[in-house]
């Protein structure tokens, strides 16, 4: 009976070490404070009706970003713990962490940063911006959107659950490479937490990718042909195509690992004919495109930012689009470069190496196009543009390091070294994260109605950039010194000073993060001074700026018609020539109702995942049946939308105008 109910979970597995107890207490305290505030301000109902059950992509986007920022914080805590250990653990000192604990931390760091921090920020930003940019009121599948978000949250909770409910996390590296992740070498529940957390949140990502793909293909405003789409929409499209192509591979690979661990099958085991090399192949068939899923949208953001702040149309639009498509296709054909050293032979290695190098061509083209865009522009050096410049500085070096690594001969020496670690951090931080920062700064006034403090934004940027170089140049050098990654202890004392500089660099980055938090607080405090209700604070070019800031929940009372690229820029020009606004005639339209079924379903998925981790099969069954019942009830509901009538719209629009001019 105990087994059926609680599976492997026993009293002893509950938290009993300082860091899990600490984590539990902190989480409980935070929960209690939040609950108290909500009760005191009587906001429970508001929270539920207006936010948690919302199908409005703007709300969902903001929730994505909040959760992602929390996870970014969690991942940064992991990072500082890794760095401290490596700065201390040389020679006779073994640092303050055990090997196993250290390995759990870097595993969690990787997973959290990729799956929950970066992906979350990205999907959040897409939710906010894409519908506005294509002139749509919503995504194609509003229910799948809230479901995807809540599955992502469920995954995020699951990956942190061992703090409260015990066990440990995978100590296998962020991809849980077999056979290390098999029962033989990882008998604990750590890998199972990894499995179910990624499976649940991966399903969420897949739903998001599918949703954006259909939205962009089917819901563009009249006149917006594919070749008139803003670059951010293009790159979101490419990224979504990659998501629906490779996330199924991730799902099935994790599923096979699950079968190995739960049913004793032999896909990737070392015994009975299993083939661990197949796991490495499959996981990188997902893993490499994943990098481009993260980086491509950032490229789109930079295209927007550069052309807006140069007050000039994007140079080489077509070649920019082609470059994005080119990268999308190539990214699916290079996975083997993650394991040249498995020894596939010179021909195979060289072919994959060259296909990897080729990716540098479209990437270079994009940078040149941005330069051409700025050439003879009217550049306003805003903090968004600062992030772009930071990106050029970091990404150029990171890219060259990548081209070096693409050469199998060099990779034989640099693989698994800290050089590699430095390289991909340069790509993800300098490429994806800086882009996301630029995007958040750029679009913040659109959704909040006031700008972020520019001065603090620039200060934060300088902290980030110097901190970044200070933290990662030592890792490049350490790689050249023969330092392997993931070491919880090393013997060569010559490495230590570099590790220490690296920690200092991280401290500088932390100062940057603190400045960013300060920036948000001060901007909120001084929001009256930075207020912008015109909807167009940057004199920008694309449709999202054609509506007020923040936009009404229906985005556009009348769907705008598009007559060319940079649709809003054209509109503004036309307005100047012909300032008489046409008479607006409102028409009824449908909007999705809010629904709690996303939360319910993800709640059951969370229960299911957690129960599976501990082999509580009865409870897992309840979770599964719960999910099914939710789906069926939802399927029977035929009235998922409501109609906003022309009169209501007219009234809302009048109120909005009154508010803006007041």
């Amino acid at each position: 009976m105990w087994n059926l109910l609680f599976g492997k979970l026993t009293w002893n597995s509950l938290p009993h070490v300082w860091y899990t107890i600490g984590g539990t207490l902190t989480l409980m305290l935070m929960g209690a404070v939040a609950a108290a505030v909500l009760t005191y301000t009587k906001r429970w109902k508001w929270l539920w009706n207006e936010w948690l059950t919302s199908t409005d992509p703007k709300r969902i986007g903001i929730m994505y970003i909040i959760v992602a920022l929390l996870m970014l914080f969690r991942g940064a805590l992991d990072a500082i713990m890794i760095w401290m250990q490596q700065a201390l653990s040389v020679g006779s000192s073994t640092g303050y962490l055990s090997a196993d604990h250290f390995q759990q931390i870097f595993t969690a760091h990787g997973d959290i940063m990729v799956f929950f921090a970066t992906m979350g920020l990205l999907v959040g930003l897409m939710n906010l911006v894409v519908p506005l940019q294509i002139g749509a009121r919503d995504l194609a599948f509003p229910f799948l959107n809230t479901l995807g978000f809540w599955l992502y949250v469920a995954g995020a909770i699951l990956i942190n659950m061992f703090f409260v409910f015990g066990g440990d996390f995978a100590a296998t590296g962020w991809l849980a490479q077999a056979p290390l992740s098999e029962l033989q070498f990882s008998p604990g529940v750590g890998v199972d937490y990894w499995i179910w957390s990624l499976q649940v949140s991966g399903l969420g990502s897949l739903l998001a990718g599918l949703n954006f793909l259909v939205t962009i293909l089917k819901m563009r405003a009249p006149g917006m042909t594919l070749m008139r789409m803003p670059l951010f929409v293009w790159t979101t499209l490419c990224s979504s195509i990659l998501v629906v192509t490779v996330f199924p591979i991730l799902a099935i690979t994790i599923a096979m690992l699950t079968l190995d661990r739960y049913l004793g099958m032999h896909f990737f085991t070392t015994t009975n004919g299993g083939n661990p090399m197949m796991y490495i192949n499959l996981i990188w068939m997902w893993g490499h495109p994943e990098v481009y899923i993260l980086v491509l949208p950032s490229f789109g953001i930079f295209s927007e930012v550069v052309s807006t702040f140069s007050h000039k149309k994007l140079a080489g639009y077509t070649s920019q689009v082609l470059a994005a498509i080119f990268v999308t296709i190539l990214s699916l054909m290079v996975w083997l470069h993650h394991f040249f050293t498995m020894g596939a032979g010179a021909d195979v290695n060289a072919i994959f190496g060259i296909s990897t190098m080729i990716i540098a061509i479209p990437t270079g083209v994009q940078i040149f196009n941005w330069l051409s865009t700025m050439y003879r522009g009217r550049i306003v050096l805003s903090s968004s543009l600062y992030w772009f410049l930071g990106f050029v500085a970091t990404f150029t070096f990171g890219g060259i390091a990548g081209v070096l690594l693409a050469s199998p001969t060099a990779d034989y020496q640099l693989h698994n070294s800290l050089f590699l670690v430095a390289h991909f951090h340069t790509m993800i931080v300098g490429g994806a994260l800086f882009g996301l920062f630029a995007g958040i700064t750029y679009w913040f006034p659109k959704f909040m109605g006031f700008k972020l403090n520019e001065k603090l934004g620039k200060t934060a940027f300088w902290f980030w950039l110097t901190g970044f170089f200070l933290a990662f140049i030592p890792l490049y050098i350490l790689g050249y010194m023969g330092a392997t990654r993931r070491l919880d202890h090393y013997t060569n004392p010559a490495w230590q000073p570099l590790f220490i500089i690296s920690v200092l660099g991280f401290m500088v980055i932390l100062a940057g993060v603190t400045t960013q938090i300060l920036q948000i607080i001060i901007s909120i405090k001084n929001r009256k001074q930075n207020m912008d209700l015109s909807g167009d604070p940057w004199d920008a070019r694309n449709l999202e700026w054609a509506t007020s800031s923040p936009p009404p929940f229906y985005n556009y009372a009348v769907i705008p018609e598009v007559h060319g690229r940079d649709a809003f820029w054209e509109m503004k020009k036309e307005m100047k020539e012909n300032p008489q606004p046409a008479n607006v005639e409102y028409k009824d339209f449908e909007l999705p109702k809010n629904t709690p079924f996303g939360i319910y379903l993800a709640g059951f998925a969370l229960l299911f995942g957690f129960a599976m981790v501990w082999h509580m099969f009865l409870i897992a069954g309840i979770g599964f049946v719960g999910m099914m019942v939710c789906l069926i009830i939802r399927a029977f509901d035929e009235e998922t939308e409501y109609i906003l009538t022309a009169q209501e719209i007219a009234k809302l629009e009048q109120e909005r105008k009154d508010h803006i001019y007041a």
Binding site: K218, A251, L259, L263, M265, H266, F267, N272
Partner: protein
Amino acid sequence: MHEEKNEKTFLGFWIYLMTDLLMFAGLFAAFIVLRNNTFGGVGGSQIFNMPFVLVETLFLLTSSFTCGVALLLAHEKKLKGVIAMLCTTFLLGAGFLGMELYEFSHLFSEGHTYQKSAFLSSYFALVGTHGLHITAGLLWMLILIIFILKKGLTQGGIRKITLMSLFWHFLDIVWIFIFTIVYLMGVAL
């Protein structure tokens, strides 16, 4: 409005089917890599009963046909015919599933379990995943029948039948691949 919604739903569903296909592609790849890794145990040619599998296949192919007829009748708003056809499809599908389960239990009773070798693992996982999809399809069909009985052949109802039949044909196609790659080639090689 309905047109536009249908368009979105169908495109979305097609994309979903493609993602599912990619998942199967992963399983097929695993099977092809592992099919000779029998670890001294049985290989495909020793355990596959071809006449049995052929009958199984005929069940599924016929069910695909009746499912198509159901959709045609739905567009003609013939409620009774739709229900009858869906029930036939359901029975044929259940027959297929029953035969598959019998085959599995037979293999188990002879000691050829999925723990024995990588070949058997990949075989059971691939065919079993298809079986799980069939189970989900049957459940869906059942719910659909209840839905149509309750609400009639509404716009939404027809859309749901279309989606279900797309899913069912998709499973049929996957099965043809399984039949070829797992069974036919398993016996021949």
